[in-house]
């Protein structure tokens, strides 16, 4: 088993920023990638709200730059995914797919994963016309008809992205207003006016239809009168939000709706979880803000909190 002073779980903006600050404090952290190295930003395209970012900054490129930066300060990035944790005593024990680890302090920055609706037909057609990642799979729908399900930033961004590839995009949302940023909504309504994107409001995905070749249509259900309609298409992208990756810490750390509970407040040590020496940063402990920049900020705080903890 490998022992480290500090282990950081997750390679999104929170994990990389924690590693950057911890390595510059000579804590030689070990950063464990998780099953999606680079995190959620690797499944997006333009990142327009990263301060100082150049025009057209891509999520994947930003994450590569973050990795190169932490490696420059001698953080070791290990490609592994932790499947079990024992936080009942110190050192904490982590069991990964590849190795076993122990550490004196732990920063959890495991983020959140895209949610699916949970329909059996959605699961059955996953990878055969149902997708959770427009940037990964949009390529397969050149000149075809697709739908995006959801009403937040991810859904609107995916609809905008796909409108440049697909022949027709229908954005399906269960309410009549969008939760996404106003600037994205402006872009959306411009595309709607141009006819590249159609909106279906007050409607939900009821079933995915198709055959052995893949998806051929979806059935929508109205939120107003329960009526259904069939929409013929080639692909459907699910963008209904994210859930935190905290299953690993069930019964070990205090949570609220699955998100890790941290101290908060303004007395310092605010990233501390319910266990001394275990800190949390980014989306795993944030059900409100969930931005790359807020994650990075809390990653920095977690590293400073861990540094103080290890010094005491």
């Amino acid at each position: 088993m490998r022992h480290e002073k500090l282990i950081i779980l997750g390679t999104g903006p929170a994990g990389y920023t924690a590693a950057l600050y911890a390595s510059r404090a000579n804590l030689s952290p070990l950063l464990i990638s998780g099953n999606l190295p680079g995190g959620q930003l690797t499944t997006t395209t333009d990142v327009d709200n990263w301060p100082g970012g150049q025009v057209g900054l891509q999520g994947g490129d930003l994450m590569t730059a973050m990795q190169e930066q932490v490696e420059r300060f001698d953080t070791e990035v290990h490609y592994d995914h932790i499947v079990a944790a024992d936080l009942s005593k110190r050192p904490f024990i982590l069991t990964g797919e590849q190795d076993e680890y122990s550490c004196d302090a732990l920063i959890i920055a495991t983020g959140a994963s895209a949610k699916y609706l949970g329909l059996p037909s959605e699961q059955a057609f996953l990878g055969r016309g149902v997708s959770g990642c427009a940037t990964c799979d949009g390529f397969f729908y050149k000149g075809k008809e697709v739908a995006v399900i959801g009403g937040g930033n991810t859904a609107v961004e995916e609809a905008l992205y796909l409108s440049n590839i697909a022949k027709q995009v229908t954005l399906i949302h269960r309410r009549d207003t969008f939760k996404s940023e106003k600037i994205l909504q402006d872009q959306l309504y411009r595309k709607v006016k141009q006819g590249n994107i159609k909106l279906k409001l007050n409607a939900t995905l009821n079933e995915v239809l198709g055959d052995e070749k893949g998806v051929s249509a979806i059935r929508l259900k109205s939120m107003i009168d329960d009526s259904t309609e069939i929409l013929e298409l080639d692909g459907v992208f699910i963008a209904i939000g994210h859930s935190p990756n905290t299953g690993l810490f069930d019964q070990q750390l205090k949570m609220d709706h699955g998100y890790l509970t941290i101290t908060g407040g303004n007395k310092g040590n605010l990233t501390q979880t319910s266990v001394d020496g275990v800190f949390a940063a980014g989306d795993v402990a944030d059900q409100i803000y969930r931005q790359a920049i807020t994650s990075a900020g809390s990653g920095c705080m977690a590293a400073l909190d861990a540094e103080k903890f290890l010094a005491e």
């Binding site: 997708s131 940037t135 990964c136 390529f139 692909g235």
Partner: protein, 106 residues
């Protein structure tokens, strides 16, 4: 060589001329989850290079074949035995899941 790269131009020949089962990773440079699945497969292949042939198919040079195979997502991993597809899975899979799934179908 544990891994071979395949394109539209040599895919059919590779399928016809390889005795061993093929595990084909259809990936794309713009796909985040592919960056985990590729190395995990390489890792599994290295344990016993005789068991199967790992094949990497970059979508940029595999568009026609992907269309013929009805692949609609990256990463998609396909298992071929005696020139025929016997299983496929799409999306971000962890090494242990891939290992278990490959064992089930080889």
């Amino acid at each position: 060589m544990t891994t071979v790269n395949v394109t539209d131009s040599n895919f059919q020949a590779l399928v016809s001329n390889t005795e061993k089962p093929l595990v084909i990773d259809v990936w794309a440079p713009w796909c985040g989850p592919c960056k985990m699945v590729g190395p995990a497969l390489t890792n599994i292949a290295q344990v016993d290079p005789e068991r199967f042939q790992l094949v990497m198919a970059n979508m940029e040079e595999f568009e026609k074949s992907a269309d013929e195979l009805n692949v609609k997502a990256t990463p998609t991993v396909l298992i071929f035995k005696q020139g025929k597809e016997v299983a496929r899975r799409s999306g971000a899979l962890m090494k242990s899941q891939l290992e278990k799934w490959i064992n089930e179908h080889l």
